[in-house]
Amino acid sequence: MVKKRGKKIGHIKGFSIQFMPYSEIARLESSERIKKILEIIFGGDILILQGRLKADEETRLIEDTMAMVGHVKNFKGIELAVISGNGHSGFFGNMKMGFANILTGGDLGAVTIIGPATIVKEIKRNPKKIELMLNK
């Protein structure tokens, strides 16, 4: 059962959440890493990835996503959010943990959430919480 703004909106069909440990993509090249992530998204699943992509891989993910909009049936893009493990969201939290993490990727204290835009309407975030708003 899913709640939306405090109201029950019933069961949502047609999606599942996949958790992926970073070790599963750690040894892949950037392009393969992104390909693997997008394949999960094309399948209509929400991916929760342990760790985060490198800065340039995040932009590459956006580029590849845009390249696929209109080419994969019913694919309109992605919703993406990175939560770092030290209580700070995104890049700046990680900056405090050192640039090495960002440049080498991984940052196993972080979590990356990626979902297809047809299912995830919005990932609302502020420094203290993150909300996944789903499409009806």
Binding site: G70, K76, G77, L80, G90, F91, M95, R125
Partner: protein, 213 residues
């Protein structure tokens, strides 16, 4: 003959050196409808009398990177020459149906969506070529958006100086403090591109950043 060759060699070297130093590539990045083109237009109009592109309430109005070269900004007697680069808004999703709400017909909406996706790709590919980047955010929107964080993360990794601008401060919902809290490592300036509010502070920051190139 030898003297002429040597003279030309140095002339080329020096002219390249000075041209690169003077012609600062100033990129405007950010999410769609934040006011990148409005701000670039305001600057271009003030210093060249011409605008850089068209502005619209419909998202993804700018779908191709557009330029204005040799824009000489005069601030407190100091002058710097810029190449203004206005980029399409970066998004992670584009749905043609969103354009239908703006009374765009289905065929044009699909065309617009296709061009918008290509625009996002073009924007990202241009990141490497910038000397200074102005991240334009809508101050009435939540700044904790992964696209903003991703762009700034990339610029930091490339050592490109960044100025964060919160546009639309003329609106009641605008919250500059929220942007400052989201990007504590950067100078954040609240402006209104529409009404030309606080542009002096903006120019001051741009001149300050130009020293870091």
């Amino acid at each position: 003959m030898v003297i002429k060759v040597v003279k030309n060699f140095f002339k080329r070297i020096f002219s390249n050196m000075f041209r690169d130093k003077r012609d600062i590539k100033l990129g405007f990045y950010g999410p769609p409808n934040a006011g990148k083109t409005s701000l670039a237009n305001r600057i271009c109009k003030d210093f060249t009398g011409e605008e850089i592109g068209t502005v619209s309430k419909i998202p993804h109005e700018t779908r191709k990177v557009q330029f204005k070269e040799k824009v000489e900004i005069d601030y407190k007697g100091k002058k710097l020459l810029f190449k203004m680069i206005d980029t399409p808004g970066i998004a992670t999703k584009i749905d043609y149906e969103d354009f239908l709400k703006f009374k765009v017909n289905k065929k044009d909406a699909k065309k617009r969506a296709k061009e918008a996706t290509q625009g996002v790709i073009e924007s990202i590919r241009w990141l490497d070529d910038m000397d200074i980047v102005v991240i334009v955010l809508d101050a009435t929107e939540n700044p904790y958006n992964q696209v903003n964080i991703t762009i700034i993360g990339n610029l930091a990794a490339r050592n490109i100086p960044v100025l964060v601008v919160g546009n639309k401060v003329d609106k009641r919902k605008a919250d500059i403090k929220k942007i400052e809290a989201a990007f504590p490592e950067y100078d954040v300036i609240g402006i209104s591109a529409k009404y030309g509010k606080n542009l002096e502070e903006f120019y001051e920051s741009i001149f300050k950043l130009s020293k870091k190139i």
